[in-house]
Amino acid sequence: MAECILEVKDLTKRFRGRDKKGREDTEEQAAVDGVSFSIEKGECLGLIGESGSGKSTTAYMAAGLLKPDRGECLFHGRHMQMVFQDPMKAMNPRKKVIDSISEGLLYHRNGLSRAQIREKALEAMDMVQIDRSFAERYSRELSGGECQRATIARAILIRPELLICDEVTSALDVSVQAQIIRLLDSLKKRLRLSYLFISHDIALVSSICDRVAVMYRGKIVEIGRTKDVIADPQNEYTRCLIDSILTL
């Protein structure tokens, strides 16, 4: 078996609901309930499921942005990065694009000068195929697709081994979605990236992911090679999910 980049063991997160009067509910809802999986180096694992199934919560815990109630995430690399759903919200509206992209190197500079960081940020912009002329603009002056490319540039700036993509295409036009997926796929090969790719769109996931995990109500109900899962789903819910695209 190849080397693991991320191991997630028995991850659990509960949120307290609130009743009608706004009091905290005594009963806790498990958003993520005992989720375990691992991602190998260079592999792309898709995590699919409907809204509220706990995909994003899992992603946040894997990224370390949220503390799990139980379980652990073991990351065997130096850097991981995350790309978010809505690119416009993932860019500080008061910063120029180049400053947002440079952010990855701003906090641990490793002795780089400002000019060197800027040059690296511009190179990252080349890699995600946005024109260098966008550097001095603000995120609101960019289209959704351009903005998402910029957030990907920020994510790859520090050369992470793992990229967590949380519904990266769902805020974009259909035509742009395909471009972003192609870009992520090419970056995967160029930078030997591993992905945790979260989406509710099984068709999109099947085009980029090696393996896929299906989440339902906080649990992983099925996990396996993408083509196996799609061709021969073992779980009732997975079957539902796949049928729903075929009927469209």
Binding site: A63, L65, F84, D86, K89, A90, R94, G104, L106
Partner: protein
Amino acid sequence: MSGGKNMNRTKKRAVVLLVMLSMVLVPTMAGRFLAPNDPYQTNLSQALKGPSAVYPFGTDNLGRCILSRILEGAAASIFSALAVVAVVFTIGTLIGLTAGYAGGWIDQVLMKVTMVFQAFPSFILAVAVAGMLGPGLRNAMISLAVMYWTTYARLARSLVIQLKEEAYIKAAKMCGAKGRHIIFRHILPNMISPMMITAALDISNVTLSMAGLSFLGLGVQAPLAEWGLMISDGRPYLQTAPWCIFFPSLALFAVVVLFNLTGDCLRDAIDARGEGRADA
């Protein structure tokens, strides 16, 4: 861009207002040099005289030149209000930022304190504090700060809580940003616009409150010139020498309206850039 035309109109309005504001502010800053007479020179033989060439706005009950006193009093009326707004802006932002960013029990304690201050009718609170501290300009400013800081603390807190959840803050955390980076790089720059709008609109409120305190005898003390005090002093002569009240009131009115219009204009300008949506 459809907003272009509106933006130009806003810009024109801003220029007109700034010119008007400077027409009021510059003479008041240079008040004591422009004043035609000594604002403190009493002359009982000239008491309560109507507007004339020597005394353009007339004289008060002690024969002092009202125009000179208005110019002299502008510093107390306007600049004390500006200073109060600057102080409450800073204190309120610091407290709101701490409460909103730290959350938990710190937030609970700070917001309970804010609520205690807000539990009193605000001007009554200012009057009470000024009464306890004793009259005087400095004490009046302190009491107004006590009255006004809660607005800023609450606004800052709600903005921070809202901004804290933004995806770009999560992205910054992924890049290794520490608390201070997040606050200074991401949160403060994004909350400053709505805070500035509130501050700009508050200048006129504070000016009025300051005049109100002086009117009640809790602010600036005689014989110092201050508009609220001048209005108060002129009351007995409303029927016989209306200029004693009319001109200081007019000055107060003009300044309050100008500051309000400027604040509105600032809000429109910021809204047009799509940054002022975070009203709270």
